[in-house]
Amino acid sequence: MITLTVTTVPVSWSAIAPEIVLLSCACVLLTCAIFLPARLAHPVGAAVAAGAFAAAMVAPIAQWHDAPRTAFDDTLRIDAFGNGARLLIFAAGLLAVVVAWGMPHLFDRAVEYHALLLAAAAGMSLLAVSNSLVIAFIALELFSIALYVLVAIDVDALPGLEGALKYLIVGSVGAAFLLYGSALVYGATGQFEFDLIAQSIRHGDAHGGVLLLGVAMIIVGLGFKANSAPFHMWTPDAYEGAPTPVTAFMSAATKTVALVLAFRVLVAAFGEDSAIWQDAVGALAVASFAVGNLAALRQANVKRMLAYSTIGHTGFLFTAVAVHTQAAARAMFYYLAIYSLMNIGAFALVAIRERELGRPVLIDDFRGYAYRRPLLALSMVVFMLSLAGLPPMGGFIAKITIWSSAVDGGQTYLAIVGVAATLVGLGYYLKIPFALVDRDVPIPESPYRPAFAVTSATVLATAVAVMVLGIIPGPLLDLAQTASASLIGR
């Protein structure tokens, strides 16, 4: 008798545990949505999503100190670098659930909002540990498509629809560049897995010209996803049009995952040939510094200003990629954690102000705010000082570590441009603290609407975290050290 067996690739459930949890919760949520009464949709959606994000954190934390390993036939690489990025993404997702709590115009689509948030986080989580251009593309599209819908989740608002359409088209062009680059690298080396590509290049089997073009197109594709100038044109529209909790999640998690992918693919696959991409990434960093900071100076809308500021922050993060030493990876990780916290906090505050006013928030709308909601105003000052990179906030340490790694890594010009960009940045970040304490604005006599307790608590918690992590950066830097050491042994 013949027993027929099928040999599959080795399966490691623990490697994809977070993705399984997130996607199955998203499916359960969408299925249950049919039976849920409308008034329960938001509480149940938020509870399931928060539970799923918390559960997804278990595996990365449990595997934190494990030695790096590959899974699923070398297509995934589970290491502290990827797991750290996963934790940042899940934390951002959790905060997005909390910030959205009580958003009136999300009530109609609360279940869809939370299910899409889970799907997007699952894609990002997979991307963070991907070790193959195929998996990277699938994961990238999984989270991108979920985000396109999330931006337009409020289908009755034209800005959201327009932002989503622009995001979709420009995002797809970016994905097409990444894909074409992947195809060319495959043509040059015959491999999709990062370590096998590196091996093929080391053995001199690769076709130089095709490989060069492929790497260039991959960098362009990554530039689109990391909203680096000159591929940033979708950013302000999508960030402004999206509901603010979605903007908060996008700005933090998308940036994290795009930078982690950029670092991983460039170091793991093309690390030997760093001369061919180092200057290109450096040029993108300089362009992002210039475009992000100069354009932000002219913005009156707070969300749009913060959108341009995220482009400026891409400059710092791409500086770390261009330097690509272990110290740079550590600095990038610390920067990403602080950046996520302060951006989500700032956007959450904008969401609160938006709900108070019932319209988009201008910088002038913060005039005299310190005399009405002192704690929230104080948090805003913390976020703005941290985004600007002033001590004693986390943003200061983040910038210092990036600069010192750039100088040690022989990319001093990037540190110099970064300092100049920071000085320009003061020009727009400090507008808001000055507006907050403006005494000339008459305080309206109408009673304030009740404070948004959950969102306000989130804002305060993130503000405290940004400050504490700036004053005591040691523990987070140690975690970043573990993460960076798992990718680069230098």
Binding site: V134, I138, V155, L165, I169, S172, A176, L179, Y180, V210
Partner: protein, 101 residues
């Protein structure tokens, strides 16, 4: 029959260029989606050509995956176009009723 891989790569590069040109010059969302599809399909052609060149199946599998992903992307894109169009149509209908009174 033997055809050099460079012919396939050239055709795909031309198609990618046409798609890119379309994205940067046209303004209609439908044409833009069409152009993005051209770019993605040129990637598929490259993948399949190199897959045959290396005698390795993974490129072909990837091309199939890309087709699926491109289709789902277009679904979302067309959905957004319809949502925008419907909203604008609503506005027109409102104006019609306003004229009647």
């Amino acid at each position: 029959m033997h055809i050099g891989v460079e012919y396939f790569v050239s055709v795909s590069a031309i198609v990618f260029g046409i798609g890119m040109f379309g994205v940067f010059t046209r303004r209609s969302p439908l044409i833009l989606l069409l152009s993005v599809e051209l770019m993605l399909n040129s990637c598929n052609l490259t993948l399949i050509a190199f897959s045959r060149y290396w005698g390795d199946q993974s490129g072909q599998v990837f091309a199939l995956i890309v087709m699926g992903i491109a289709a789902s992307e277009v679904v979302v894109g067309l959905g957004l176009v319809v949502a925008v169009a419907r909203r604008k149509a609503d506005l027109d209908v409102d104006r019609l009723t306003a004229l009647r009174h």
